[in-house]
């Protein structure tokens, strides 16, 4: 949320001292809400990650956790609500209307804003997806409250304020931001930044249905088409268990085949650093990092990637980072767990070959399907 002209703020202590008694109209605000993102009938997994995080905040504050579902009448919304309960929500708010079928800014902003003014949450969390960012900005501006984008850490401090930490300046710095004197305190979080919580068995709870009077004729913007990315692996990069990625160190576009081949052999997904996208060697949705995807695999293999801060912030959540780089001083070795200083172009084929031998016939069959 750091923005224009922030370069010379007064010392931090002075700013924090700006906190006054919360204005009367906000005192009734309670509970933590998570916006459950439902696009084309499917819940975006970031909503579950947020429920996990929201649960912790709600417990610290001693308040309830609610999932908020906006969608068309039908089974999908109810399925989303059941899932919200399974991932820890105490209650759910639901607005059902046919015009909430596809995401559009106008009706979604109206519905979410009205829910907030009616039921007064203290904290409202959304995924920092294209939908979440589009919606959060409009809702926060309508409510004239604070919104902190792309948080990497959320906490509640001693006096009950939400402390939202986010990267700024392309990830070179982190800052902790508070929303003082306004409610709700809003934040977005990118997919895969928070861990996926355990799914419980409970799928029932209190559902509060709310009607927002809206008719299709009032909504100017119409959805006239949707082209799905389909079942291509790109959509799953953020959720892959194993990811192999190549960087500029691979030297030429055709060497990316070495990355793809290894990925295919071990059932991994593949990605790249930003310069490769800029060179047109890989499509943008394969880019990993600050301005690309955040990944959280069990294993990340980075070949010929220097490990610049903008790349680092996208891969730090990986359980095991393995780096292959010719330069022993490459920054990637500062955060990788296992490193080898060698030519990736020579090593990758050997890795692929060896893995092929080690792969059981069973998993080879599995991967072939």
């Amino acid at each position: 949320m750091l923005s224009t002209n922030r370069e010379s703020p007064p010392p931090a202590v002075g700013r924090a001292a700006m906190k006054k008694e919360l204005p009367e109209q906000f005192k009734a605000h309670r509970h933590v809400w998570v916006f459950i993102e439902l696009e084309r009938g499917k819940v975006h997994p970031v909503s579950f990650e947020l429920l996990g995080e929201g649960r912790k905040l709600a417990d610290k504050l001693g308040v309830q956790l609610a999932g908020v579902v906006l969608g068309p009448p039908g089974e999908f919304t109810w399925f989303a609500i059941a899932e919200a309960f399974a991932y820890g929500a105490d209650l759910a708010y639901l607005v059902e209307a046919p015009l909430l079928a596809d995401y559009r800014n106008e009706p979604f902003t109206k519905a979410l804003t009205e829910l907030v003014t009616t039921y007064k949450p203290e904290i409202l969390l959304l995924g920092a997806t294209t939908l979440g960012r589009d919606l959060a900005g409009s809702v926060a501006t309508t409510l004239l409250t604070g919104l902190t984008a792309d948080c990497t850490e959320l906490d509640v401090d001693a006096d009950g304020s939400l402390a939202a930490t986010r990267p700024t300046f392309g990830g070179s710095l982190l800052c902790t931001i508070y929303t003082l004197n306004c409610r709700p305190q809003m934040a977005t979080v990118r997919p895969r930044v928070m861990a996926m919580p355990q799914r419980g068995n409970n799928q029932i709870g209190r559902v509060i249905q709310h009607d927002v009077p809206m008719i299709e004729e009032e909504i100017v913007t119409k959805v006239v088409g949707f082209l799905s990315d389909g079942l291509s692996a790109t959509a799953n990069l953020a959720y892959a268990d194993v990811v192999v990625a190549g960087g500029l160190g691979l030297g030429a576009a055709e060497n990316l085949n070495l990355v793809k081949k290894l990925a295919q052999t071990i059932g991994a997904d593949y990605g790249c650093s930003r310069p490769l996208v800029q060179k047109g060697w890989m499509p943008a949705d394969r880019q990993i990092g600050q301005t690309g995807k955040t990944i959280r695999p069990k294993l990340y293999i980075a070949a010929g990637i220097s490990g610049a801060i903008q790349h680092r912030v996208g891969v730090e959540g990986a359980d095991l980072i393995l780096a292959i780089n010719t330069d022993p001083n490459a920054p990637i070795f500062d955060f990788a767990h296992l490193g080898v200083v060698t030519d990736a172009i020579r090593l990758l084929p050997s890795l692929t070959e060896l893995f092929t031998h080690r792969l059981s016939p069973h998993s080879r069959d599995k991967l072939a399907n």
Partner: protein, 283 residues
């Protein structure tokens, strides 16, 4: 057609440091550029103007030196540049920034004609929030089209616009109305080189400089720190990881030897992967 584009001058370097005592950002000596995403918005705006006629006004809010960024956009062919600069804007968060910019856009509308489209980049590279565009749209009650990859068509008589916007799982085609606010994705168009004529004209052009009062902003409590519900409490460098990567010794080893060791290293640290991927052998 009148198009307004909002741009921001941002630090070029990622080598920003934090002052160890005051915990503030030290930007001194860091070169600045136009936020790269804004250039795609600018290109789209200029193309629309070239095709349909009209004018492009470029707007920025920032310190006096942001004039350089505006002049650059004039060399690309913008018709007019407005710099909104005032000490009252210092410390603005996205809510306060969108307030100030929306007021300036309203004033631009009064002075030079109501805009049909307001463009912004999808986000800035220093703040990375993607919130200012939606904020401006809401403040001005404009229809909002974010993450637009392509303007498919525009019908000025019917005041209709059709765009393709990226969503998580695909591309949505939206039909909407003018006036609207569009945030533009990267890479939609190749950015033009400025012509010599434009460069000469830009050098001669006066830049419109507005203070808060000039832009018609009466309520200063909505600006700067006072108008910002969020406050930055702490700025700090990402924590260093204590230990560096464990290095595999490479002396006199073939790629195959190294691959053996790497695979062994992987399974030592992540035994679960072994069963999940159903590897066999004693790797």
């Amino acid at each position: 057609m009148h198009i307004v584009i909002c741009i921001k001058q941002v630090p070029d370097s990622t080598q920003i440091r934090v002052h160890p005592v005051t915990n503030t950002i030290m930007r001194q000596g860091v070169p600045t550029i136009i936020n790269p995403y804004d250039l795609f918005a600018m290109e789209e705006a200029l193309r629309l103007r070239d095709r349909h006629g009209g004018e492009v006004t470029v707007l920025t809010m920032g310190p006096p030196m942001a004039e350089d960024a505006l002049r650059k956009v004039l060399t690309y062919g913008a018709d007019r540049a407005v710099l909104l600069t005032d000490r009252h804007f210092a410390g603005s968060d996205t809510l306060a920034t969108s307030f100030a910019l929306s007021q300036a856009i309203a004033k631009i509308g009064e002075s030079f004609g109501t805009p049909d489209i307001v463009f912004t980049g999808k986000q800035t590279i220093d703040g990375d929030t993607a919130q200012v565009g939606p904020g401006i749209a809401k403040r001005l009650d404009l229809l909002q089209l974010t993450y637009v990859a392509k303007i498919a068509s525009i019908d000025l008589d019917a005041r209709e616009i059709t765009v393709e916007r990226r969503s998580e799982g695909g591309t949505q085609t939206l039909k909407s109305k003018l006036p609207c606010l569009i945030t533009m994705l990267e890479g939609s168009n190749e950015i033009r080189r400025g012509s010599l004529d434009d460069a000469l004209r830009a050098a001669r052009s006066a830049i419109v400089k507005w203070s808060a009062a000039d832009a018609g902003i009466e309520d200063l409590t909505k600006c700067g720190l006072r108008g910002s519900p969020t406050v930055v409490k702490r700025v700090f460098a990402p924590p260093e990881r204590a230990e560096k990567a464990e290095q595999i010794d490479t002396t006199e080893k073939t790629p195959r030897d190294l691959a053996e060791e790497l695979i062994a290293g992987i399974f030592l640290r992540q035994p679960a992967l072994k069963s999940e991927l159903a590897f066999c052998g004693d790797a």
